[in-house]
Assembly symmetry: C2
Homo-oligomer: 191 residues x 2
Amino acid sequence: MKEQLKNHILKFVSPSESELKAFLNATTFKTIKNKEYLVKEGQYCNYQYFILNGCFRSFFVNKKGVEKVVNFGIEDWWLTDLDSFINQKPSELNIQAAEDSQVLKISKEKLDAILEKTLVLNQYFRIIHEKVRIADQKRIQFMYSLSGEELYHVFCQHNPDFVQRVPQYMLASYLGFTPEFLSKIRGRKKT
Amino acid sequence: MKEQLKNHILKFVSPSESELKAFLNATTFKTIKNKEYLVKEGQYCNYQYFILNGCFRSFFVNKKGVEKVVNFGIEDWWLTDLDSFINQKPSELNIQAAEDSQVLKISKEKLDAILEKTLVLNQYFRIIHEKVRIADQKRIQFMYSLSGEELYHVFCQHNPDFVQRVPQYMLASYLGFTPEFLSKIRGRKKT
DNA sequence: CGAAAAAATTAATCTAGATTAAGAAATGAA
DNA sequence: TTCATTTCTTAATCTAGATTAATTTTTTCG
């Protein structure tokens, strides 16, 4: 199943056989059942996770005790609490499986050692970061310019398959409103 | 003035003299007056800008014709419209000086050529991206959990110096509300 | 300096979405 | 196949912040 990560890397950069092998060997396979946690608030997040299949949400709990979904992750995405991972501090986020899932994980020590000396893998992760930043930028732009109802419809158009996969209340939270309001929207128009 | 960029790079990575020189030589100096544009919506953004001094805002204009400030940039920050720069498409953002400013710029061609072969500079930009992603993450978390009033006070606490430097209406836009509302907040409590 | 432009304030009114509270459906485990 | 848990819906009420519009203050620059 490391083929899948290999293919993902080859989409963006051209490592030598040995560079690729060294990296893939540094990863380990893990299975997670729906509702189980990859990372819990307060823990140190010492791994970066590549999702092979399944689905995750990352969320935090606000002062009122409400869960706020910050992100989703699906096949072929890298997921972690970056702040915890990079700065070695307790995580403010939880990362929880939203389906039975499989991931490859790599520890900070191993990743650091590889990034210390391998050009192509720095390129790979630089490119991944660029892509995420562009996506986040788009998301902020949407959040700044669309109403809740518009946000929902745009999200459904862009991710028609994905909408089916997570409960409505997670989607509502991710889009920045309450499940009751999402329900109201869905009552208005059929999408 | 390329000393400043050099020092910034040395904070994060350890290039050889020649790697450093090659990179610095690829940058060119530019002065911009307050209100002038580095990037305009619709243009291709072929440069990445390192701010030596001064201040910039990036914004887009929403459907209703209202300017939405997406980000600010100050000394020692890299600034660009990433989507336009990376994917070579017309920019959706404007980047405008909010003070008389000075920058170093590097073209996409030159940067690509350098990143093609230099480990340390890939590390440098990877680290920059990591930092920005962590900051963006924090920002999204704040936006999801704080009221407008709280957002404003937290922002003032974290950036007391900066608050003086930009007009209130830009700050309001950046925080996601109207200048009228910001004015109301400021009327309530003194900060 | 003084006029014009840009920025900030104030106040009245309005609305998208929150909150609260029940009940209905769906899912799941035993 | 049933009981319990989780998820979704509906509806009434409430509020943070938008909108509009007029006024004042500050900045700019000839």
